[in-house]
Amino acid sequence: MADSSAMDATTSTGDHAASGPRWGDLGALCLTFFSLGVTVNVLVLDRVGSESLTIVAAVAINSATTELAYLAVRDAGGTQLAAVIAGWVVASRFGLLAVSLGARLRVGTWHRAAAGLQSFDPNVTWAIQQRQPRDVVRVFWRATAAMHLGWLSGIAVGVFLGNVIGDAQRFGLDAVFPAALLAIIGNLLRRRSGALAAAVGGGLCLLLIPITPAGVPIIASLVGAVVALATMPEETL
């Protein structure tokens, strides 16, 4: 599903920390994931060509960024291995979100596992702002339900639309692909360390595209994260 640090435009996380998200917040979250589900799955179907594979990929991988990163490397002519590595590394943030959630979750092992697999920005951010352990659980699953309602209906509409539209390039839909990714990392770029990591990673990629095999520039961009970490070790998250 969507890895949406960008969703702050529709999901104000700070205002109702104690009482949890209101119905309006949940509706906005649902709508955001719906539009993400539609766009991402139109694009995935365009490249994969199979409805069933598109739907299973969206539900099983549960990370739009991973799907888009994999397809981007393949589009550029990169190997399967390079594309898979790119898909994996962009999901590293989910592990970190699961850590934040795990620290506040007082439930059994299976419940923890289920919650861990659904760690995204909006639901974890809302949940960990709650004071009572039972509110953490309640708010987490409420937000998760709103996200999935939007994402799953978005998948259905996206697959349907993808079949109707046909060639995605005709409507400028190929430009939605990088735009969606930019929206997803929007919040990371607002921090100086995130902006530096992106500038170094993106710049290095630009330099390497003409001179290295496809896929290498994207893997090499990991250096940007290391440079940002080394340059700004003290900045708090």
Binding site: A6, A9, L31, T32, R47, L53, V56, A57, A60, I61, S63, Y70, V73, R74, D75, A76, A86, G87, W88, A91, S92, F94, G95, A98, V99, G102, A103, A113, G116, L117, S119, F171, G172, L173, D174, A175, V176, P178, A179, L181, L182, A183, I184, L189, S193, G194, A197, G201, G202, L206, I209, P210, P217, S221, L222, G224, A225, L229, P233, L237
Partner: protein, 100 residues
Amino acid sequence: MSWAIVAVLAAGVWVQRLLGMFVGGRVLSRQPALGRLATLIPAAVVMAVIVQLTVASGRSLELDARAVGMAAAGILVWRRAPFVVVAVAAAVATALVRMI
């Protein structure tokens, strides 16, 4: 993307989330830099993917309609526009430039 690739990608994402939930807290309390790295990696790698999708055509660099769409998206993301607005603006700007 094949069924096997979907399984491999899904496994990688699942493992990272479960590791975070069950062992991440202990690891990060000893190695806090790892947590910062995990946050910075997507910024660097996703930006590289964006660059690739916006200006690359195979192994050559090309400035075309996609760059205009991305410029529109960049301004809107900076202004904190909702996702759907960013997506539609990028598509419309790119399609318009191609029509000209």
